[in-house]
């Protein structure tokens, strides 16, 4: 009886949460991205199945890590019996971009208790970051940003874990020639476009893209770190060059 009433109150709370306007808006905004996330989730799942780690471990890894690019980068290393520190170092290089996201979310989530901030950060991803920044270019005072974040993040989380599990279980039935992963790349490309709001962000994106391709041969996925560093450096120089140029004009 007590368990039943506990479940009932949980259900009521969840329903009330799902009815909040910002939660709904976040979830609705994430729906168009679902096709890209689902395609990518299936691809990642198939890759995990083919690495031979077994279904339970594959699901365990993806639920607790929840980082598609880190998992895809780690798989060939695990399959090749690489030392554990190499897998971890690669994970770190791929995940460093989350620190940039974290830095951006700071002013939006600063009023929340630390436990909630950490819980929210577990759900951070490329998709909901781009959607969030598109929706809230600046923190709005009194606005519950975390509700929008949770709406889009939980939608993304559900679609990702569901499609990944499908990929892990269906594994070998899905041929690589379908190019499903391309839908995921197109989703990322579309998200990158939403970020291009000023000439200097254009420059940063182009510099990062070129640097990531040029430095691709580096081990441990360091090419992403190199690309971010290059783009930040060029961005800072562009910011400083502009006032100087204006200053020289008569």
């Amino acid at each position: 009886m007590s368990l039943k009433s506990c479940l009932e109150s949980l259900r009521v709370e969840a329903l009330a949460f799902a009815r909040r306007p910002l939660v709904r808006e976040g979830a609705r905004d994430a729906v168009p991205m679902a096709i890209g996330i689902a395609a990518w989730g299936i691809v990642a799942g198939v890759a995990m199945a083919k690495s031979g780690m077994g279904v339970p471990l594959a699901i365990f890894m993806s639920v607790i890590t929840y980082a598609g690019s880190a998992q895809i980068a780690a798989l060939p290393l695990i399959a090749a019996d690489a030392p554990m520190w190499v897998v971890w170092a690669t994970t770190l290089c791929v995940s460093l971009r989350f620190m940039a996201f974290s830095f951006h979310y700071r002013p939006y989530f600063a009023h929340l208790p630390r436990g909630q901030r950490v819980a929210l950060s577990f759900l951070m991803g490329d998709t909901n970051f781009a959607l969030f920044v598109r929706r809230f270019a600046e923190p709005a005072p009194g606005c519950k940003h975390e509700e929008y974040f949770l709406g889009s993040a939980l939608m993304t989380f559900g679609v990702w874990q569901g499609s990944l599990t499908l990929g892990i279980v269906a594994g070998h039935g899905i041929p690589a020639s379908w190019g499903l992963g391309f839908a995921g790349s197109m989703a990322l490309l579309a998200l990158t476009c939403t970020q291009l709001r000023s000439p200097s962000t254009w420059v940063a994106a182009v510099v990062a893209a070129c640097a990531a391709v040029a430095a691709y041969a580096l081990p441990l996925k360091l090419n992403i770190v190199v690309a971010i560093a290059a783009a930040v450096a060029v961005g800072v120089m562009a910011d400083h060059a502009r006032p100087a140029r204006r200053g020289t004009k008569p």
């Binding site: 890894m61 890590t65 897998v87 940063a204 070129c210």
Partner: protein, 109 residues
């Protein structure tokens, strides 16, 4: 790797990704950081997205594609054109993937 090793590796990966994600949200106080870095970090998320997607579009097995008959390039261009036209995320994904699949299966690129 043995199952136990994969288990431990997964735990480590989870700890690493979560600490990166939580990094700047852990402390209430602003971290001491030079102003140029604070401003420069504004470009980091855009750069990260571009850095993850670019190699997937123009590299095959780590080598730059050496033929213009690559379905991915035209798929990506079609997606970009659609985004410029309609600003729709869903349309960009469907249009880009559709063009890529059409070229791959019709022309064998």
């Amino acid at each position: 790797m043995s199952a136990l090793e994969i288990f431990i590796t997964s735990l480590g990966m989870a700890a690493i990704t979560l600490s990166c994600r939580a990094s700047f949200l852990l402390s209430k106080e602003d971290l001491p950081m030079p102003r140029w870095l604070r401003e420069g970090l504004r470009y980091a998320p855009t750069a990260a997205l571009a850095a993850v997607v670019a190699p997937e579009l123009v590299l095959t097995q780590g080598h730059l594609i050496h033929t213009w008959q690559d379905a991915r390039i035209f798929g990506a261009l079609a997606g970009l054109a659609f985004y410029a036209w309609r600003r729709s995320l869903f349309g960009t994904i469907v249009c880009g993937t559709g063009v890529m699949l059409a070229l791959r299966f019709q022309l064998g690129w």
